[in-house]
Amino acid sequence: MHKAGKDVEQLLPLKPADFEILLALAAGELHGYAIMKEVEKQSEGTVRLEVGSMYRMLGRMISRGLIAEADAPEGEAPPSGRRRYFKITETGIAAARAEARRLKTALKTASAHRLLEHEAGRDV
């Protein structure tokens, strides 16, 4: 765990899309298209993945050990065929956690500089 934690430091800051994928997978195992939909939903449409880039990212994240391929759940067999499912790894969780902490710190700083109030005011 300690070792994973140290490796994780080198991965920060995560790219926004990587972070979103980790967040989507933190909730459970998903297949490619479900990841696309989930990321779009949770980022409120600000991060949209296209198929080619997404699988490139998934491949890269697998090779970095952030995520791994999972077995397809029961009952998800033909007619839809065998989709490939992905799950988050221990390293992935650690990285997402570290990134979230980093963002939280940044958020604190931002609100201390009263950067967010303006934003909120405009929203209302």
Binding site: E50, V51, G52, S53, Y55, G59, R83
Partner: protein, 905 residues
């Protein structure tokens, strides 16, 4: 299976943008997720949303493809330059050039991008051409392999295979060849293979024992044929099997050698397995089994090896190390003369053609590859002219800088090397980017498959091609740098340093104009090429085969089993098939058409009219040979013009009759009625060879429209009930549109009559037609893309030259304004300068295109290489777009404030 059917061809093509490694891992997932996404988008946002998704996906996959390809191969270091004084100076120049380029990123970007596109296309096309024109065949010392044809001296030189007897004679006498071999493989050499209750049809080849050592091929398991198997038909039947058959149907049995299998109900012994990937160079189809030549009569035509007219065999030879191709040709000419003297009946008017095997294999695709290569070369040419133009403009604007350098004592040589260095640096960068473009796009371009490449070679990227392209590019880079460097050398320091001199200089403007004219002319040539291809494709689509192919399903029956060796059995089968036709569920008509259905080329026979001397010039004609059921022509919409159709009464025992096409009737009996007259197959040895013509029908392209014999529209139709060949085609027309529903019932009907008959080649006739059109379509797409690119570059050139010229004339324009010129008149005057240039260049381009288009003649269908529509269309198009590119700068200039213009800044 259902997943496979859902594949979208467009998406499949896009996937080719990705590197193979990436595709292997993710292609299935990409398809699935994209389909899901597309479905969702279509539901929520409709067709417009779907179109946007496609666009985003194109961009995304292009990006992903590039990023993935670049990822593993990050360049490690820059090669070190040498240490000599010349080199150090050169290095200094390059550093200077790079530095000066960094100050004008827009110029560098445009130059590198266009160079990347131009050189990328060239490298991709060079790779293709490399495989077609230079690549060696996968046989040892393949450059000494030749193929030998018999050539008829009558009626044009049509190539024919050779007969066994002729081959034996010249083989024994020829001294130019180290070894010779004979092989026959074609639609007539199939065998039925039955194992574990499963009947299938194998492609067989009959080869002499010398065939394998000639090609330098050894068996992967066991041995190839022995001389004994070659000589006596009594030898125990031996068979060699392909690696594919061995590893597939035969279960990769390592103890297969020596085991018996049954081919066409004849037991044979497997003596060897050929290595993986071995292919017969004389045919484009895959061969499954090889049998000794002497076995051919037993499996096919009983008297095949007797008679010099039985021209079925492909002859191959390996030139002796000491013999040149020319001397081999001379020797074969002598031998042809001897054969003609000894056997005048069969060999008079025949000679031999000795052709390098490589050239033979690629003979069909040479022109297509050449056209694409030429087009890519023109694109590269335009790109370089464009570069020269850009540099020239840039050099003109730096005249005072150069003058200053010269005044401070720099040798003129340094100005030269600086300018050349810039152009070289740009070409090198463009070339490097171009190689990436080529690398990324080669799979993509090849997926258009503009012509059927023979399976013997693989198009790939090799160091030689890249090196050739790079040196070409550097050469062109040097050439592009010459024009500006020249102006730099001849610079008049005093004039350049004094501010009052004309900006740009007349010299620079003059050569810029020439360059733009060259660009426009080159673009016109490429446009004409694309226009001709498009017109030809359009013509192909409109013409069809000259018959109603819609809704017709075609299939073939293999009658190579021993029980069909005699004609009566085959006639019986034809009769039964026609009788059972009306009861075929879903079918409105069932016809027989042999030996090849319309759209597939067939055998040709030499025919002559009764009463004509067959030795005389122009009395023997080649006609495509068809055997058909009585209603076949009318069911496919081929009308009878004269006489009658074939009828069910034309059966064995009745008067031998034929129907012929209009073209053949015109050749045999010009300006006369053909019905009632008689003709014969020239080589028919029977005492009464005559058959009576009962009708003349419309011409159709029954042999396809683009094959070697496509210009020949002479067809002869025999009644299938008088003669049924061993390959039997069937044409089934459905009641509705659903062609696919017919294949099941048709197979069942055949199997009810004889379950031992293998049915193969099931395909809608429309698909045969479309398959033939596909290469022309692909060529049109590629050439149009090339043409678009070149036109765009040429227009940029016109735009640039005119903008600069107008800028130089700003003060003059202001004066004209002040003197009361009208905007219309001013506009015409300014545009006139550009249009004069465009018009001249277009005319030059059209003339060059007219000259070059002859080369394309053999890939064009139905139009002349000087097709007026294509030429006129290109001329109009070019003038219209150049009008636009002249209008834009001219309009901008007359919109400027006259007061500002007068101030002349």
């Amino acid at each position: 299976m259902s997943e496979k059917q859902k594949r979208s061809p467009a998406f499949e093509r896009l996937l080719m943008l990705l590197p193979r490694r990436f595709r292997r891992t993710w292609a299935e997932e990409l398809r699935r997720s994209f389909q899901d996404r597309l479905g969702q988008v279509r539901e929520e946002e409709g067709a417009w949303g779907a179109a946007r998704l496609w666009l985003r996906t194109v961009v995304d996959l292009t990006k992903t493809g590039l990023v993935e390809r670049l990822r593993p191969s990050v360049p490690q270091s820059v090669p070190r330059l040498g240490g000599s004084l010349v080199m150090r100076n050169l290095r200094l120049d390059i550093v200077c050039a790079l530095r000066s380029l960094r100050r004008k990123p827009a110029l560098a970007l445009v130059a590198v991008l266009t160079l990347a596109l131009g050189s990328g296309l060239t490298v991709a096309m060079l790779s293709l051409a490399n495989a077609v024109f230079l690549g060696s065949l996968p046989y040892p010392e393949s450059e000494r392999l030749v193929r030998i044809y018999e050539v008829s001296n009558k009626r044009g030189a049509s190539l024919a295979p050779t007969s066994y007897l002729n081959y034996r004679d010249w083989r024994d006498n020829a001294e130019s060849f180290q070894r010779t071999a004979l092989i026959w493989s074609g639609p007539g050499t199939t065998v039925i293979f039955e194992s574990q209750g499963q009947v299938s049809r194998l492609q067989a080849a009959f080869a002499s024992a010398s065939y394998f050592p000639l090609l330098g091929v050894e068996a992967a398991l066991g041995r190839t044929f022995s001389d004994e198997e070659d000589r006596s038909p009594q030898a125990p039947p031996a068979v060699l099997i392909s690696h594919g058959l061995w590893s597939g149907r035969l279960g990769a049995d390592s103890g297969i050698v020596g085991k018996p299998i049954e081919l066409g109900e004849t037991p044979v012994t497997v003596v060897g397995v050929l290595p993986r990937g071995f292919r017969d160079p004389t045919t484009s189809s895959r061969t499954d089994v090889w049998l000794p030549l002497t076995m051919a009569p037993r499996f096919t035509i009983p008297d095949l090896l007797e008679g010099r007219h039985k021209k079925y065999f492909s002859a191959l030879a390996r030139l002796d190390a000491a013999t040149s191709l020319d001397s081999a040709r001379q020797e074969m000419d002598v031998l042809a003369g001897q054969l003609a003297a000894s056997y005048p009946e069969a060999n008079r008017d025949w000679s031999y053609l000795v052709r390098p095997l490589r050239e033979d294999v690629f003979s069909q695709v040479r022109i297509g590859a050449l056209v694409l290569l030429a087009a890519a070369g023109l694109v590269l040419g335009i790109v370089c002219v464009n570069l020269a133009n850009l540099l020239l403009v840039d050099a003109a604007s730096r005249r005072s800088e150069f003058a200053m350098r010269l005044a401070l004592g720099a040798p003129r040589r340094r100005i030269l090397t600086l300018l050349m260095g810039e152009s070289l640096a740009l070409s090198a960068a463009g070339g490097a980017a171009g190689i990436l473009v080529a690398w990324a796009s080669l799979d993509f371009l090849l997926s258009f498959n503009p012509f059927q490449l023979p399976g013997l070679v693989e198009v790939q990227f090799d160091a030689g091609v890249v090196a050739a392209a790079l040196s070409l590019l550097l050469l062109l880079g040097l050439a592009a740098g010459l024009a500006p460097a020249w102006t730099g050398i001849r610079l008049d320091i005093r004039q350049a340093l004094s501010r009052s001199g004309p900006r740009g200089g007349a010299g620079a403007a003059g050569s810029g104009r020439w360059l733009v004219m060259a660009e426009v002319a080159l673009a016109v040539v490429v446009l004409v090429g694309a226009g001709l291809m498009l017109r030809s494709f359009q013509h192909l689509r409109q013409t069809g085969l000259g018959l109603e192919s819609e809704g017709a399903l075609t299939l073939y029956l293999d009658l190579s089993l021993p029980r069909y060796r005699q004609l009566p059995a085959r006639l019986q089968l034809s009769r039964q098939l026609l009788e059972s036709g009306p009861s075929l569920p879903g079918a409105s008509s069932v016809d027989l058409w042999a030996p090849s259905v319309p759209g597939h080329d067939s055998d040709y026979m030499s025919v002559a009219a009764e009463g004509k001397d067959t030795d005389a010039e122009n009395s023997v004609f080649l006609a495509r040979y068809n055997c058909i059921s009585p209603s076949a022509l009318s069911n496919l919409g081929i009308a009878t013009l004269e006489g009658r159709e074939l009828s069910p009464a034309d059966r064995s025992g009745s008067l031998p009759v034929v129907v012929i096409s209009e073209s053949l009737a015109q050749s045999l009996w010009p300006r006369q009625e053909a019905a009632g007259k008689r003709l014969k197959w020239v080589f028919n040895p029977s005492p009464d060879p005559w058959v009576t013509v009962v009708g003349v029908v419309e011409d159709a392209w029954t042999g396809g429209r683009l094959g070697a014999n496509s210009a020949n529209r002479s067809d002869i139709y025999f009644p299938i009930l008088q003669f049924t060949p061993r390959n039997l085609g069937m044409v089934v027309r459905g009641r509705g549109d659903g062609v696919s529903d017919l294949s099941g019932p048709a197979r069942a009907a055949v199997s009810r009559l004889d379950p031992g008959i293998a049915v193969y080649g099931v395909s809608p006739m429309d698909q045969i037609v479309a398959e033939e059109e596909r290469p022309a379509g692909a060529m049109s797409v590629l050439l149009t893309a090339f043409a678009g690119l070149t036109t765009f570059l040429a227009l940029l050139g016109i735009y640039g030259v005119l903008s600069r010229s107008i800028q130089r004339r700003t003060r003059e324009i202001g004066v004209r304004w002040a003197l009361g010129a009208r905007p219309g008149g001013l506009l015409t005057m300014l545009m006139g300068e550009g249009m004069k240039l465009a018009l001249t260049a277009t005319v030059i381009g059209l003339l060059s295109a007219a000259f070059l288009a002859r080369w394309m003649e053999s890939v064009l269908f139905g139009i002349d290489s000087l097709d007026p529509w294509a030429f006129a269309g290109v001329a109009l198009f070019m003038l219209a777009v150049s009008l636009l590119s002249c209008y834009l700068p001219a309009r901008r200039s007359i919109r400027t404030d006259p007061a500002n213009a007068l101030r002349g800044s």
